[in-house]
Amino acid sequence: MSGPARVERFPDSEADDDVVLRARGIEKQYGSSCGDCVELTGDDAGTNQCPTCGTIVAVADADLELHRGEVLGIVGESGSGKSSLAEILALELEATAGTVDYAGFEGNLLEADYQQRHRLRHEEIGLVHQHIRNGLTLSFTGGGNVAEKLLAAGWRHYGDVRERLTELFEATEVPVDRMDDPTSTYSGGMQRRVQIAKAIANGPGLIVLDEPTTGLDVSVQARVLDMFREIQREEDVSTIVVSHDLGVIRLLADRTLVMRHGRIVESGLTDRILEDPHHEYTQTLINSIL
């Protein structure tokens, strides 16, 4: 399960050959649009709700590129559209418009049918949900939850499944002897780890982490992030991290997008964004934390 060798490069490089995912004009609206919604909302308008028809423009005009082995952070306040964008890319949410080219799929990823989505979500794209209940079946054992991914991908040898589960539990630092307990008996940190184990089970080409540290105390947060960073480097898997927490972004992301009112207002190397924010909102955001 070794990915291609990590290429030394600037994360911002425009070299096309190692682009894993390229998204253009992603848009998600809630409500029946009056046609002018996108023009009447956004950062300049200071709102994501259309003043004419009341439609919520959760995301619009979102362009992004993700390179092999890169971690892309998406940061922004609640309601800025970062989770919608992440869920669209993880095929959990239908977009209103946009195209996504993905290395493991021919055509527009957003137009994949149910069957293709099912395959992609099990074998290509791992999502770690913000809410544990959306990602795990709590009545199943921890092992069972992760095994679901393997079984969906066609694993039919029980011994092999157990072996892979042990590997995954060790990698994500979940005690292996708790593997056969119901997931509902796990602590919050363990449940988060099981979700990560599930997301990486089939060696996906893309992982989307939606608020990976929600509800965890600071020391557990640090250990989960540490663990993930190690796996991410070992497997060289491209990752999108969504968080409102700049600490998480600083620790994980090579490059960062800042979102507000459904628009990407700034993007660049994470260090640059944190040290030298250009957009007014980013400046406020960073000042409020640092």
Binding site: Y114, Q115, H118, H122, T137, F140, T141, G143, G144, N145, A147, E148, L151, A152, R156, H157, Y158, G159, V161, R162, D180
Partner: protein, 389 residues
């Protein structure tokens, strides 16, 4: 297997406007009936009255083709007619057609659950109403009918269903598996090999095998549509984690024709291999859930299992105390003096064995079907130790 001739058409014309074409589904039929309300009820009565006149009973000269005017009058007519007030094989012809149509569709898509209207029957849903409707829509006067309830011909439920068919459809009842042309069964497939001239009708309490992993039929239908059975596999995985082998007592999930996951109704694991590449048509009917599904002859039926944790049949510690069989499904029974012993569950075959201990399950057919000679499975020969607890 029978038709009533021209009166059949009358029935359809006086019906409540439901189209007889292929597109008429169970839902339409139900909707069509419920919306027309009490008027329809009266019409139904009319139809019943007409059928009693033109049915298998002697023609009543008193009311040739004249529709009685009041419900009371109708009821009187039916009461005086007694058992002859019913249509042949109890169900009206329209219902039989609808059931047959669903049955044909089920045969065309092996393992797929086909909805049907499921009429009220003279016993509560859950007591074999689906099986009765399918049996009665198939039976003709030349048929020989056997009914078993968990292997027994003499349980109250089985005896009553057999009597209903006997009185309303004039079929010959039998207890001999090899003599029956149609066998209705609850939770067993007979031990003796079935042939291509027989049809087995199984009563089904719960149609969808996925329901035990997800309670939502809506989501489960979607899973069936896309052959997405990973949740069921997780349930098998967890079963092995707990027991070190797959321990499902009855209704072992099977994949039919490499496509649909199907519950074979709560037959023991022992009977599951009998469905694979059989000569017989198997029909599964659930009255409460209004679904019919089928395994046609010569169809692959594969129990779900892992490569290293195989499907296994039940193991029994003792031979049958009555006939000495070691190759039949046995149940533990307690005698009056508190002793426990094992006896064949299929009573009809057990009686044959008691008369002639050498009789084989395939004694009446000249071929091997594979499963009929299987003795006790060698313990765990198929399973390597693996890990687990």
């Amino acid at each position: 297997m029978t038709d009533r001739g021209e009166s059949d058409d009358d029935t359809l014309r006086t019906g409540d406007g439901v189209d007889a074409g292929e597109s008429s589904t169970a839902a339409e039929t139900e909707a069509g009936e419920s919306t027309t309300g009490t008027e329809t009820d009266a019409e139904d009565e009319t139809r019943e009255g007409l059928e009693s006149d033109g049915g298998v009973s002697e023609p009543a000269p008193s009311s040739p083709g004249v529709a009685p005017e009041s419900v009371d009058g109708l009821l009187e007519g039916v009461e005086s007619a007694g058992i002859e007030g019913y249509n042949y094989a109890y169900l009206d012809e329209h219902t039989k057609r609808e059931v047959r149509r669903a049955t044909l569709k089920a045969i065309a898509i092996p393992g797929h659950q086909v909805p049907f209207a499921s009429r009220e029957m003279p016993l509560a849903r859950g007591w074999g109403t689906g099986g009765i409707q399918v049996s009665l829509s198939l039976l003709g006067p030349d048929d020989t009918f056997k009914v078993i309830d968990q292997g027994s011909d003499e349980s109250v439920n089985a005896a009553n269903i057999r009597r209903l068919a006997e009185t309303t459809a004039n079929v010959d009842p039998t207890r001999d598996t090899t003599a029956a042309s149609i066998i209705q069964t609850r939770h067993r497939i007979p031990e003796e090999v079935l042939t291509d001239e027989q049809i087995l009708v199984l009563q089904v309490p719960t149609t969808d095998p996925l329901r035990k992993v997800d309670g939502s039929d809506d989501r489960n239908r979607r899973r069936h549509a896309h052959q997405n059975y990973s949740k069921m596999w997780v349930s098998l995985y967890e079963n092995v984690v707990e027991w070190d082998e797959i321990q499902i007592g009855a209704a072992y999930p099977v994949l039919v024709n490499g496509r649909y996951l199907m519950s074979p109704s709560p037959i023991p694991r022992w009977d599951t291999p009998k469905l694979h590449q059989a000569e017989t048509l198997f029909l599964f009917a659930a009255g409460r859930e209004a679904r019919i599904y089928a395994v046609p002859p010569h169809t692959d039926v594969e129990p779900l299992a892992f490569e290293d944790k195989r499907f296994q049949r039940e193991r029994f510690p003792e031979a049958c105390a009555l006939c000495g069989s070691t190759d039949t499904y046995r149940t533990e029974v307690e005698t009056d003096d508190g002793k426990r012993l094992y006896a064949c569950n299929d009573t009809s075959f057990c009686e044959k064995r008691q008369r002639d201990p050498s009789i084989q399950k395939a004694h009446h057919v000249d071929r091997d079907v594979g499963w009929e000679r299987l003795e006790e499975p060698a313990v765990d020969a198929a399973n390597d130790g693996g890990e687990g607890r």
